[in-house]
Symmetry: C5
Subunit: 344 residues, 5 copies
């Protein structure tokens, strides 16, 4: 638990307080207090719970919600404070097309912000650096401080969203090439689909929270701070729109994959048909002259054999021409490969 206190008169940010200092700090309304609680191994859960219940006088249900870890983004107003749950994201290390979410619980009171979390947040680290360097953010009060945290958190969505774009594009290329078996590509598409719809879900719920904040629904946030929350809302709107867009793209991938497979089947069947169509009549002719009838005059002619071979060649060539004119030969995936090599 780290406590940051901005003293208005002193115009500086102090650190190094303990839980015991909280009651007196909170009593002084001119302070801006940020209490950042990390409950990693749930070791000091009991202690933390008491601080939240007794020092801050939060509703028991919200404190319970804090310690649950499967919550969705939401905001709830209480007479003395606002309680909101937001989610940070970061790309999963092993799968670039995937991401992990982590929950951040925030409380905003008249002169304090409490952040509660189980995992590390890059965004919170950044805000801490900021306020250590510059008291500017704290001067505007607790609501502005909360805005800073949310702003950093939302900004860290962007790299994940940009990664998705890369992954979708590279997957689309692979779908068109279809070098590997379709099933593997299929699995990756499905994984991507899940990730994108998760992103959509999380960002849209969070958008809802920010919409309510930025439209002045809560008196805890002064009107002069609203434009800043509106700004965060707009950034999140952009992310939500992009994820909506990506969902369409991934669904398209599925359709493409299916069509490419069908095209490929078509090409294979075409190949089989041409092959059969050429060899079957030739074999038939060979079969004719393999018959053992006694009276087959052609068999006795001098050039019957050579003539028959020529006939066979003629039939094969005319069939090839027929298929070429029908457009079944020299199509297939050749021209696609050409096009592809051009673009390289």
């Amino acid at each position: 638990m780290e406590i940051f206190v901005y003293r208005k008169n002193a115009e500086r940010v102090e650190e190094g307080f303990t839980a015991n200092d909280l009651p007196s700090l909170l009593a002084d309304e001119s302070n801006v207090i940020w209490v950042d609680i990390v409950n990693k191994n749930e070791e000091n859960s009991k202690e933390v719970k008491e601080i939240l219940l007794n020092d801050f006088k939060f509703h028991p249900l919200t404190v319970e919600d804090c310690f649950e870890t499967r919550n969705q983004p939401k905001i709830e107003a209480f007479p003395e404070y606002l309680y909101l749950i937001v989610h940070g994201i970061k790309p999963e290390e092993t799968h670039p097309s995937n991401f992990v979410t982590k929950e951040l619980d925030c409380f905003l009171g008249k002169n304090f912000v409490v952040t509660f979390r189980v995992e590390g947040f890059q965004s919170i680290k950044l805000v801490k650096q900021q306020i250590r360097n510059n008291t500017f953010s704290c001067q505007r009060g607790a609501a502005y401080l909360l805005h800073q945290i949310l702003d950093q958190l939302v900004d860290l969505y962007m790299p994940v969203v940009d990664d998705f774009y890369e992954v979708i594009n590279s997957l689309e290329d692979r779908v068109f090439l279809m070098k590997n078996s379709g099933n593997q590509v299929l699995e990756e598409i499905m994984d991507l689909r899940r990730s994108v719809s998760r992103l959509k879900r999380i960002s849209s719920r969070q958008l809802d929270v920010l919409y309510r904040i930025s439209h002045g629904e809560f008196p805890q946030i002064p009107a002069s701070i609203l434009p800043f929350f509106r700004d965060v809302h707009d950034h999140l709107q952009r992310i939500s729109d992009l994820s909506e867009n990506y969902r369409d793209l991934v669904n398209s991938l599925f359709d493409i994959h299916f069509s490419v497979t069908t095209n490929k089947t078509n090409d294979i069947i075409k190949f089989l048909t041409i092959f059969s169509a050429i060899w079957l009549p030739l074999s038939f002719i060979a079969g004719i002259y393999g018959m053992n009838f006694e009276n087959m005059p052609e068999l006795k002619t001098q050039n019957g054999y050579y003539f028959t071979l020529c006939l066979m060649a003629l039939i094969a060539i005319s069939l090839l021409i027929y298929f070429w004119r029908k457009g079944w030969i020299l199509q297939g995936n050749e021209d696609y490969n050409e096009k592809e090599s051009e673009t390289k």
Copy 2:
């Protein structure tokens, strides 16, 4: 019919009353009364109906609704009481991917809760244990008692929802393997689809009921109790969102199944094509030298036979190389199986 009465002055929960005690119990407004009616074999329907109509003075229509069993979750406000229908669920024993719902009718008055049901409810059993051990729940009044019942009921949704996730995942694996006939897997997907959409429907209707309760629409529920109902609402929201999510996953399963089938057909046709493409020309050559022309000089050469066999081998090998370069050989579902064995 079991009757629980919490006497405010005595601060304890009493049991063992009969229907005849009800009028006097209800008259004392300081009591908190819970009447739990189980109408299993409809044996004492008439008696129960009279109690509801005369002692509690419920509207005849709501009493009729109680005895119907095909209702959907709903809430109705009357001047003297609230009437709500909610549904509990439990996994079906024979099919883990399925679940059964059972209707629970609740009435909330100033100082009483009436629960009416045809089947056993795990959640009601738990609440009974609770109030026997601890009068805490009753102290807060009838509305809080109702909250306890709904809370337990909604909590029992979670295991069913978690089961779904398992079933969907295992089914997805089987779809990708496709060891069995497609039709059997298909049937299971369809069953799952139905179950998930049932879950979605039921939870979203119930969500509606809880939304209306938790947003203070009904004066029967004091403001101090609202956050507790909001908590139940949030849990149910989570379940509803998950079932929405599962519906997407199951629909994906359908698409995957279809694509896997198509990929498989593709592989089979490829196999057929390669096989035909190799044997047809070889058979043709054998056919050529099976012709009975008198003048076929090759037939008389010493090594004609061996030469022909070599030619055939050459043709077969070049065709294999051709198909290998075209990417038709050593693809198929082999690499998928490899990948799969890696993950094990």
Copy 3:
């Protein structure tokens, strides 16, 4: 035209009036009057029109609407009366999976209900029996009488809806078996899809009408009667939800049909491939020893023939083993049929 009059003082329902009695009956506000007009062959259209316009003083447009037969459910409020169009349904005799709708025009005034229709209604017949036996419904006034008619009308939706469930289930079984040609099943699915979406449309429009009535939008309906209309609304809600559900099921049927066909094609192609893969190499070997080379030492050996036959058998068996290990043999639709016979 049948006229029923409930005389408040006499507490009984009288019948047998003619159109000429209407003005005096309507003038007595203590009467509850139900005028049921059947305009089957449009023979007395002119006469009826005059009654509606002059005796009841309905707006010319609503009277015109009455005589049209292609209206959709709607409700319109006029200062002196409510005008509503509802639809009854019954299963079509020839096709159980289909239903017919028939229009019922209702007018509700201070002390009268007018029902106008072209066809017979089972529900109206039932209400007539009711009020002949029991004046209870009439005592509560015209609005309650209207509720009785709507209630009966909506109750008669239920058997049709239940029939749909049967039809969908039996069709699903047939889709999985696919004994008949796909096209016939396909046609039935399409018919069902149309019927279900018609049901959805009609019930949801009607739901709209009942929602508006039951939420107290119209002052013609006293507050004490509203719960009864809410009850009808809930029943209709259930029907609307079920038809929504059925629409999903029928759409699933379509998907299943398509997948089953694809699976079947897959099986057939597999069969073809196995067959070709076995016979083609065997024929090739026969072709080899059918060549007429002079120097083919195998031909002269004592057991060459038997040896060749053994070789052929060996090849056939190894190919069968290969396909069996690849999982192409003993799959297909056999195991599905087995499963099916189990369930019988």
Copy 4:
């Protein structure tokens, strides 16, 4: 430009005025004036523009909108007048499954209606006949006159909508028969899809306009006239609903077409498989006895040849029985054709 003036005192409709009479006619508020402007070849555009701007004092933007021809239905209120754009439709002569729309601009003032159009309108012709025969429509004022025009215009949608139904049904029959190549049918389905969605779009936008008129949003239309506009709204609602319905049907057509094609492919492959399965083993047997081994005792037996022929016949018959029991023979599209001939 035709001008109709209904003189209240004279109770008759006069014609034959010129643009110069307009200022004096408009000045007399007891007149009901209808100015119908046809701007076919844009010859007198300038003159018309001046009349609209100076005599009627319309906003320059609305006058500009008049002369544009690619507008969508809309309604705009100005202090002195209402401006609305509606669309008439008629079936295209060459393609019955298609229709053309034409724009009609209407202005409604206190005592005048102005209609402006580039093309001929059947509906306007009908209203002109009406008011020549009968001054009834004019007596109710300008708003009622506008209603008459809109009513006729919407009524002329109905034949087009009914035509669609015919076209969809006949196309469905052709899809099931699939006598022609699929591509031609496909093109017609696509054309139909476009037409239907155009109809949906136009009718729903128009519905919007009429909804706003008929719900009393504009004070220019007296309350007593509102039910008449509501009537037009209901008719249009019906058309909009039907076109929604048709869109579903056309989308179904697409699905059916696809399934019928798949069924057909299935049948063809089945045929190919049966054919190959029968001839391949027979050819193999013939190949066996075509081998040139010296020691093949069967070749020397008296009835070896006949015995072999019998064996072949036996194999063929058992295969046919096998396929027949598997249900691959005597299915296909035969039974569908039978069914079809029955229905004729």
Copy 5:
């Protein structure tokens, strides 16, 4: 940075001011000032930022938004000014089926318009010419000037939208012909799908902005100017509707492509089947008479050979007739090509 000032008393537009003149120009409320800032290489970003912050006193967040380039259309109201982001589009030079968007930031104050952009805008060039020729636009004040800019910007959407229609139509023709490999067409369809959905997104967001402006939400825009913004809104509405429409068309293209591929596969398989069905039995007969049985009386007859050839011809012809009656011959894509050549 270009500054245009319309002096009310002088009734002319002056140019050639520098940033230093701004404070005095803004102070005179009778001026109408347009400051057009092009920030191409971000060279004078700092200077521009100061002008916006100090001279115009814009909120720091809006100034920051200006310098970001990935914003979506939006509008924000501040007490002293309106801030809006709109997007212009132009066709991409290399791909006609694609387009580029560029951001335009506009500020509207009491007597000024500020436009800020990174790229060149055809629309702004046009408005500059207009106001140089004609002071009319400026006389109506800053809001009208803003309307002029937006109007031109939206008008330049139209050619892009019209291009789309061409591209979609030509692509549809190519899909039906399917001369090239399906994959290339597929890629173009996907590209088009993306472009169209981008267009839809951008236009609908912009529509939102214009809706809010044109419905009088912002007091900065006088009521007399609102109809002009409504006009721009209607134009944009049209574009948004068209892009919605195009999206449907492009999705149809996808479906068509898939169906055409399936039809083609069907034709190829049909071809293969007919071919196999004819040659397999003929080869079998040749195989029969290629057997080496000693006792095969037919072989010794005089005309056995010719008779056999006739038999083969007979079989081939009857099979052809069978297929022709089954409708498998002379169908395929021939009749489509015919139809196509007719339309040329």
